[in-house]
Symmetry: C3
Subunit: 235 residues, 3 copies
């Protein structure tokens, strides 16, 4: 067992915060897709718990934490209720929600990598599962909402790369036996800040060279940079 | 081990009936989506067995029942063949199929909750898995068919709520140690009747308050009530 | 433990070849869908490893091979890089890629059936898991790309049937205790050749009798053949 990032109770609180903000993003998409209250709750649960559920199934930690910790199960319902009753208000503070979501990304990539390593996986596999923990819920959310996962789209600000950096930092610390709480915290903060910067400056990842895509080029979203500046993605 | 709802052989027969009607619903969607005979069989299998498969993976009951009981595997193939050869006839008795589907919903939410509890999960988690057992196959069916899961759509009659009620009744009985076969049967019948009523009176769940949806409002389906009656969903 | 199809190191090399060509098909779809470099890598990983991952979760072989063998994880990344930089060239040799993909199909249906049987599953369940190993990655690829799985579509050349034949041959050999390396190889080659023939002669599976589909009949894609010239689009 590697050292905990924080004391157990602090870690648990941080987990719940991460779960809550992820659930908010699921519930908001459900409202945009015109789902009913039950669909809002399902999408909140899936977004918040899907990544950790996948990790726990892969490492054989059954029943998964999502089904053994009542707080993990109830927190997304709380988020769903909030969005159900206060949808416009929550939309209005979307920028704030995004900051918390970035924090969840940072915490989950670190916690996921650490838990996978604790269960005996190799360093690369642990980092991959850390990434899956952080982004898996969002992918499931988009699949259930019948949309192309925003994780995969070129016209979205970098989301996975900050998590990859954080998970890799944890894996390197584990490799050299220096995963102190401080190092864990540093990895989480790095992923968090990278994600904030990616949103601020609309960092994008490049698409394939010389591609001939069959997909209509989509217009940049309203928040995208002015013509001329866009898409620093290596073209 | 809690008491069985019915004697093992009766329980097994009921399971097969539930699997059969769920498979019919999968096969019918496959025909509507223009899939070939193989696609019909896959969608039948996934719809019938997906919910239980998810539950068994979560509680660590591997290999899952879907892969150890030959009857579970062959029954959906039988349903697929029936729909393949007799598609118009099966469509014509759709109302009858829906009644059986409601029965499957009732049986599976009870059986799923009980099995999860037997494997050591808490009451809330057991009820959640009972719900997942009952509705999971239908969600997988819609995801594979590239449609928004009908479970999540506001313009569909209540489907999850009856299962939630049934699963909650079982969990309460487990809590107070009174899960007799009679109580189990009552929970299954309650879910069954609630689903029938939801279909008969087009009960819907409410959508978020003050939402501004980006999704075009869809027309009510032909079976929907006349203008003025619609959508009892609290508006 | 049944006899290995080949010596362990040869088997491992063949696995990596199969993983590589499956990953190529995932990466090519990602480029067509306009995903960024990260989306290309994710789709390559999921396509290559998804089928085996599902099999390992079902038989309880956790952590799955996809997360314990570094070569399994890195090979799809190599394929993603290749497609990222050399997309037009890889597209141009699509016919060659399809031949390798057929080889992967043959190898994986045999290896999947054998591994499931080794873990104590019945013959029918083992064959079903062999099929799932061979085709599961492609289904996950299409679901993530928000497309109807090509496995289920009537307007695609037979893909599952060759794998079903191969898996059934292995199951029959297991049943009669004659699964020699020669028999395994024969099953893999049979599936391989059947898939090649299906592509060459555009074998399709029938759709339901007397269906009244609600789906518009799709036109053959622009790249589709004048009769006689094959649809290299494979899947």
């Amino acid at each position: 067992m590697v050292q905990q990032l924080f004391s157990p109770s602090v870690q648990h609180t941080l987990d719940l915060v991460g779960i809550f903000v992820f659930a908010i993003s699921g519930a908001l998409l459900a409202v945009r897709k015109n789902f009913d209250v039950f669909g809002i709750a399902v999408l909140a649960e899936v977004t918040a718990l899907g990544g950790g559920l996948f990790r726990d199934l892969v490492i054989g930690a059954v029943p998964p934490a999502a089904f053994t910790d009542l707080g993990y199960f109830l927190t997304p319902l709380l988020a769903a209720l909030l969005v159900f009753f206060l949808h416009p208000e929550v939309e209005r503070i979307q920028a704030g929600v995004n900051v918390f979501d970035a924090a969840g990304l940072g915490l989950f990539c670190v916690a996921g990598t650490t838990k996978a390593y604790d269960h005996g996986l190799g360093l690369t596999a642990s980092a991959a599962l850390g990434l899956a923990t952080a982004v898996g819920g969002g992918v499931l959310r988009d699949v259930l909402a019948n949309e192309v996962p925003s994780l995969l789209r070129w016209d979205r600000d970098l989301y996975a790369v900050p998590a990859i950096v954080g998970a890799t930092m944890v894996a390197l610390c584990l490799r050299y036996g220096v995963l102190t709480p401080l190092a864990s915290g540093l990895a989480a903060v790095t992923a968090f800040v990278l994600r904030l910067l990616a949103m601020r400056y609309h960092w994008r990842a490049p698409r394939a060279w010389h591609r001939r895509s069959t997909v209509r080029e989509e217009q940049p979203p309203p928040s995208a940079p002015a013509p001329g500046v866009p898409d620093r993605a290596g073209r």
